[in-house]
C-alpha cells in the first residue's frame, strides 16, 4: 500500500469534470472516497482539511459524505484557522440537528465564541445562527447574549442574528436578550443597526409584551429612517442613489409591526411614510422595493385615508410598470387590500383586467383572482365578458378556478335568471371538462330553483349534448335536467328561444348513448340511467325504458347494476309508488353556503328521518360525497326500499359499491365505524369515512381522531364534522380519510377526548380491513 499525498481540491475538481459519463464520474468519486477514507482512518491531521474540502465538493455533486461528519468536528476543534473554516463549513453542510453527533460541536462552538480572534468567533456565531439545534441554543444562549453587548460591531451584528435564531428555536429564551437590546439602535454601524432591527422585529412578532415594550422606539426608528433619506450620498451604503435600502426596508417593516393597531404609533410614523412614498426614486428595482414595503406598512397600520389612497395609487402605478416583477407585487398587494379598500382598488379595475392578457402565468393568476374580487352588481356584465373570454383562452391550469369563480360571481350578481343560465352554459360548453366535480350539484340546485327557466335550460343543455358528450360535468348536469324536465323538452314549451322539435325516442337515444359511450365516466352513467328512469313518469315510452333498465341489471359496473336492480323493483313490485318517487324535485333549501348539503324535502314514501342527513361538506371534501346528496337522493330512497325488500345488511352509505363497513374501534362507549368508497377518478384511492358515536350518558368533547399508516401508504385526513361526539348515540362525528394503497391496509389510530371532566387518550391498531378496501 503506497501512501501518497492526497490530491489537491482543485485538481480533483478538474479531474472529475473530465468524466464523460455518469459511470466514469462515479468511478472517480469512489476511488477518491476510498483514498479519503483511508486517510481519515490514519488520523492524518495535515491533510484532513484538504480531504474534507474534497468531500464537500463530492457531496454537492450528490454523493454520500456522511463518513466525513466526525472529521468536520475534528477540524473545528483544531487550532488552525484554515481547519476551522472548512470544519464549520462542513458541519453546516453535512450535519443536521436530527443527528446526535451535531451536539458534539457544542463545546467547540462555546470555546470559539470566546476565542481571541474575531474571525473565529465569527465562524462560531455563523454556524450556531445557521444550524444550531434547540439544545445547542439553550447551552450557548448565554455566550451569544454576552457578545450582543460587545462594542465590537463585527461581532455584535453577528450576535444579533444569532440571537434571532436562538429565539426562533427556543422562544422562551427571548427574555434574556432584552437587556442587551437597550441601546442597539444608538449604533452608528449599519450592520449592527440592520441586524438589531431584525432582532427587534423577531421579538415583537413573538411577544405582545415585547411589542408593547418596544413601541417607544418608534420615534427613534423614524429618525434613523429620516436620516437615511435626507442624508447625502454615502458611497458605502449607496445602491443606485438610495442609501442602504436594506436597512430602510427592515425599519419600515418594524414600523409596520409597531404601528399595527396602535393609533399613537401610527400617527408618529405618518409623515415619514408619506415622505418615503413621495420621494423615493422609482426608476430602479431598489426604489420600488422600498415603495413596496412602504405600501405594505401604510395598509397595515392605522393610517389616515389620504395615506391609504396614496398607497393604492402607488400600486396602481406599479401595474403600469414595464417591469413584470413590479406588476406582480402590485397585483399581490392589491389582492390583500381589495376587501378593506375596495373602492380605491376599483379605480384600477381596467388596468387589472388588462393584466389577464399578460404572458406571465403568476401575473395572470393574480389578475384573475383580483378580477373576481372586484366583480360587483354594477360591473358584472362587463367583467363577466372579460372573464369568460379569459376562460376561453387561458391555460388549462386556470380553467377550474376560473370556472368556479364565474359560477360564484354569477350566483351573487346575476342581473337576470336568463343571463345566469346562459353564463353557466357558456362555462360548461367551453370549459366543461375542467369544471370541478362539486360544481355539478351546485348547478343542479341553481337550475332546479330557477323554475321559469327550466324549459330554456333543458333545451340548451340538450342541444349542447348533441354537439359534444365528452365533458363530464356538462353531461351530468344535462342528464339530470333531461331526466327532470324531459317533458318540457318534447312538448316544445321554450319561450326564451325557438323551441326545438324532438321526440321521446330521440331523447332516449341520447341518454342511452351516454350509457354506452366510453367517453362517459361511471358517475355519468349513473346520472343518465337515473334520468332515463325518471322519464318513465314523464314519457309514454315506458316499455323502452323498462327494457333499458333491465339490461343494466346485469351490468358489470356494480354501481349501475345496483341502481338498475332497484329501478327494476320499482317497475315490478312497487309500481304504484313510482310516480310519487320520481316526481319533480322541489326547490332545494341550502343549509350551507357551499351548496346543497342538506336536502330538506320529503319525496313520496321515503321517510325523511330515514334519509341520513349529510353534514355540510368541509372544503376539499371528495366530490363523491357532495354529489351523492343530490344525485343519490332518489336512489337512496330506492335503496332503502331495497333494504326492506331484500333485507340487505345495514349500509349507511349505500354507495359503498359493495365494500362492507366495519367497526374499527369499540371501547368505553366510543364506537368508530369505517365505511368505504372508491374515489373518482382515481380508483386506487380508498375513501374511508369514520363515524364516531358515543353510547355513554355524557358528551365526548374536544374529540380528535388521528391516524397513521405504514410508510408505503399515503394518507390524507380532511376536517372532521365536529369535535363533540354527543351522548347516547344522538349523533355521529364523521371525518373523511383518503388512503392511496395497493397493499393490505393497516392503520393505527389515536383518539383523544374529554369525558366527564377527564382527558382520555387511547391508541389502537386497525387490522380487520375488508379485503375489498385495498384490492
Amino acid at each position: 500500500w503506497v501512501c501518497h499525498t492526497p490530491i489537491r481540491l482543485r485538481e480533483l475538481i478538474r479531474t472529475i469534470r473530465t468524466a464523460r459519463t455518469q459511470a466514469e464520474e462515479r468511478e472517480m468519486i469512489q476511488k477518491e472516497c476510498a483514498a479519503i477514507r483511508s486517510s481519515f482512518r490514519e488520523e492524518d491531521n495535515t491533510y484532513r482539511c484538504r480531504n474534507v474540502a474534497k468531500l464537500l465538493y463530492m457531496h454537492m455533486l450528490g454523493y454520500p459524505a456522511h463518513f466525513g461528519q466526525l472529521e468536520c468536528l475534528k477540524l473545528i476543534a483544531s487550532q488552525k484557522f484554515t481547519d476551522k473554516r472548512i470544519g464549520y463549513l462542513g458541519a453546516m453542510l453535512l450535519l443536521d440537528e436530527r443527528q446526535d453527533v451535531h451536539l458534539l460541536m457544542t463545546n467547540c462552538i462555546k470555546n470559539d465564541l470566546n476565542h481571541s480572534t474575531q474571525y473565529v468567533q465569527g465562524l462560531a456565531l455563523c454556524t450556531l445562527g445557521c444550524m444550531g439545534s434547540s439544545e445547542m441554543c439553550r447551552d450557548l444562549a448565554g455566550e451569544v447574549e454576552k457578545l450582543l453587548k460587545t462594542s465590537n460591531s463585527y461581532l455584535r451584528k453577528k450576535a444579533a442574528l444569532c440571537a434571532v435564531h436562538v429565539i426562533r428555536k427556543v422562544p422562551e429564551l427571548m427574555e434574556m436578550f432584552l437587556p442587551a437590546t437597550k441601546n442597539l439602535l444608538s449604533e452608528k454601524n449599519h450592520g449592527v443597526l440592520h441586524t438589531s432591527v431584525v432582532l427587534l422585529t423577531e421579538m415583537c412578532e413573538r411577544s405582545p409584551d415585547m411589542l408593547a415594550h418596544f413601541r417607544k422606539l418608534v420615534p427613534q426608528l423614524v429618525r434613523i429612517l429620516k436620516n437615511l433619506i435626507m442624508s447625502g450620498y454615502s458611497p458605502e451604503h449607496d445602491v443606485s442613489g438610495i442609501s442602504d435600502p436594506f436597512l430602510q426596508v427592515r425599519i419600515l417593516r418594524l414600523l409596520r409591526i409597531l404601528g399595527k393597531g396602535d393609533d399613537d404609533s401610527s400617527e408618529a410614523m405618518n409623515d415619514i411614510l408619506a415622505q418615503v412614498a413621495t420621494n423615493t426614486e422609482t426608476s430602479k428595482n431598489v426604489g420600488n422595493a422600498i415603495l413596496y414595503e412602504t405600501v405594505l406598512t401604510i395598509m397595515d397600520i392605522k393610517s389616515e385615508s389620504g395615506l391609504r389612497v396614496l398607497a393604492i395609487n402607488i400600486l396602481g402605478r406599479f401595474l403600469l410598470n414595464n417591469d413584470k416583477n413590479i406588476r406582480y407585487v402590485a397585483l399581490t398587494s392589491l389582492l390583500k387590500t381589495v376587501q378593506t379598500d375596495h373602492n380605491a382598488v376599483q379605480r384600477h379595475r381596467s388596468t387589472i383586467v388588462d393584466c389577464l392578457k399578460d404572458l406571465d402565468v403568476s401575473i395572470k393568476r393574480r389578475a384573475m383572482e383580483l378580477s373576481f374580487a372586484l366583480v360587483n352588481g354594477n360591473n358584472i356584465r362587463g367583467m363577466m365578458k372579460e372573464l369568460l373570454y379569459f376562460l376561453d383562452s387561458c391555460d388549462p391550469e386556470f380553467k377550474a378556478d376560473c370556472a368556479s369563480g364565474v359560477f360564484l360571481a354569477a350566483e351573487k350578481y346575476a342581473p337576470s335568471k336568463r343571463w345566469h343560465i346562459d353564463t353557466i352554459m357558456r362555462v360548461l360548453t367551453t370549459a366543461g371538462s375542467y369544471v370541478r366535480d362539486d360544481s355539478v350539484p351546485n348547478l343542479i340546485q341553481l337550475i332546479t330553483n330557477s323554475v321559469e327557466m327550466h324549459a330554456y335550460t333543458v333545451q340548451r343543455l340538450y342541444k349542447a349534448l348533441l354537439d359534444d358528450i365528452s365533458q363530464q360535468p356538462l353531461v351530468q348536469v344535462a342528464s339530470w335536467c333531461i331526466g327532470e324536465y324531459g317533458d318540457l323538452l318534447i312538448s316544445g314549451q321554450c319561450e326564451e328561444e325557438e323551441p326545438i322539435q324532438v321526440t321521446e325516442d330521440e331523447v332516449l337515444d341520447v341518454l342511452e348513448g351516454l350509457l354506452v359511450s366510453n367517453l362517459s365516466s361511471p358517475v355519468t352513467r349513473g346520472y343518465s340511467l337515473t334520468a332515463i328512469m325518471k322519464l318513465s313518469t314523464r314519457f309514454s315510452s315506458v316499455n323502452r325504458i323498462k327494457k333499458v333498465v333491465s339490461i343494466y341489471g346485469s351490468s358489470i359496473d356494480v354501481e349501475l347494476q345496483q341502481r338498475a336492480v332497484e329501478y327494476n323493483a320499482l317497475f315490478k313490485k312497487y309500481d304504484h309508488m313510482r310516480p310519487a318517487l320520481l316526481e319533480r324535485m322541489p326547490i332545494m333549501e341550502k343549509t350551507a353556503s357551499n351548496g346543497p348539503t342538506e336536502i330538506v324535502q320529503t319525496n313520496g314514501e321515503a321517510e325523511p328521518s330515514v334519509v341520513e342527513p349529510k353534514h355540510p361538506p368541509p372544503v376539499g371534501q371528495p366530490a363523491s360525497q357532495v354529489k351523492n346528496t343530490v344525485f343519490g337522493l332518489v336512489s337512496r330512497c330506492l335503496s332503502l326500499m331495497a333494504f326492506y325488500l331484500f333485507d340487505l345488511s345495514k349500509t349507511v352509505n349505500f354507495l359503498s359499491i359493495g365494500i362492507p363497513p366495519m367497526t374499527a374501534y369499540n371501547k368505553n362507549g366510543l364506537k368508530i365505524d369505517f365505511t368505504f368508497e372508491r374515489a373518482n377518478p382515481n380508483p386506487n384511492v380508498a375513501v374511508i369515512t369514520i363515524h364516531a358515536s358515543n353510547s355513554t350518558e355524557a358528551d365526548m368533547t374536544d374529540f380528535v381522531f388521528q391516524a397513521a399508516v405504514p410508510k408505503t401508504f399515503q394518507l390524507q385526513l380532511l376536517s372532521p364534522s365536529s369535535n363533540v361526539v354527543p351522548a347516547l348515540n344522538q349523533g355521529t362525528v364523521t371525518q373523511v380519510i383518503r388512503v392511496l394503497n395497493q397493499q393490505k391496509l393497516r392503520m393505527r389510530i389515536k383518539l383523544t377526548y374529554i369525558h366527564k371532566g377527564s382527558a382520555v387518550q387511547d391508541l389502537a391498531e386497525v387490522n380487520n380491513f375488508p379485503p375489498q378496501s385495498w384490492q
Binding site: R14, Q118, P245, Y328, V709
Partner: protein, 204 residues
C-alpha cells in the same frame, strides 16, 4: 388537517411526505414569516453549484426539494417574472450568465428586496473574483460559501456595506495564509498570529 402535527412524526408518517399533503415544510415547525429558508445556485443544465439551507431538513428532503425546484425554475420562459409560488413558499430567482440564483422566502417577505440581496451577493462575488464566472464558483466553491456567510447569517443580511464584507473576507483569507498581525483591525480587537496550514491548499 386536524391532529396531524401532534407529534406523530414517527417512522410511519414519513410515507406521506411528498404525497398529497405535502407536509414537508410543516416539519420545520413554526418559523417566522420573514425568513429566507434556503438559497440555491445552479447551472442551466441543472447542476448544483451552491446550496445554503437555513432550515433543518434531511439530506433526502433537500435533494427532493432541489430536484423539483431546479426543474421548475429551468422550465420558466425568459419573459416570465422572477417570482413564483412553490409549495408554501415564494421563490425569487435570477439568472446571471449561466448561473441561476434562487432563494426561497416566506409568505410575508418582500420579493423585490430579495432580488437586491441576490444582486448584492453577485456583486460581492464579482468584486472578489474579478469578473466572476461560473467556473470561479465551481473551482472555489468554498470561497463562495465564505463570502455568503459574511453577507448573510441565518438567512438575513448581517452587513449592508459591500466594502465591509469584502474587507472581512480579505482579512480572514490573510489569516489563513499565516500572516502575523500586530495591528488592531477593528475597535478593541487584537489579532495574534495564528498557525495555519502552509499556503497552497487553496491555490490553483
Amino acid at each position: 388537517m386536524d391532529g396531524w402535527m401532534d407529534g406523530w412524526m414517527d417512522g410511519w408518517m414519513d410515507g406521506w411526505m411528498g404525497g398529497w399533503v405535502d407536509g414537508l415544510l410543516l416539519t420545520i415547525g413554526i418559523t417566522s414569516s420573514f425568513q429566507m429558508q434556503f438559497m440555491l445556485l445552479f447551472s442551466r443544465q441543472g447542476k448544483l453549484r451552491l446550496q445554503k439551507w437555513y432550515v433543518p431538513l434531511s439530506d433526502k428532503e433537500k435533494k427532493k426539494i432541489t430536484r423539483e425546484l431546479v426543474q421548475t425554475v429551468l422550465a420558466r420562459k425568459p419573459k416570465m417574472c422572477s417570482f413564483l409560488e412553490w409549495r408554501d413558499l415564494k421563490i425569487v430567482y435570477k439568472r446571471y450568465a449561466s448561473l441561476y440564483f434562487c432563494c426561497a422566502i416566506e409568505d410575508q417577505d418582500n420579493e423585490l428586496i430579495t432580488l437586491e440581496i441576490i444582486h448584492r451577493y453577485v456583486e460581492l462575488l464579482d468584486k472578489y473574483f474579478g469578473s466572476v464566472c461560473e467556473l470561479d464558483i465551481i473551482f472555489n466553491f468554498e470561497k463562495a460559501y465564505f463570502i455568503l456567510d459574511e453577507f448573510l447569517l441565518g438567512g438575513e443580511a448581517q452587513e449592508t456595506s459591500k466594502k465591509n464584507v469584502l474587507k472581512a473576507i480579505e482579512q480572514a483569507d490573510l489569516l489563513q495564509e499565516n500572516i502575523d498581525y500586530q495591528t488592531r483591525l477593528f475597535a478593541g480587537v487584537m489579532v495574534p498570529s495564528m498557525a495555519s496550514e502552509s499556503s497552497g491548499l487553496f491555490q490553483s
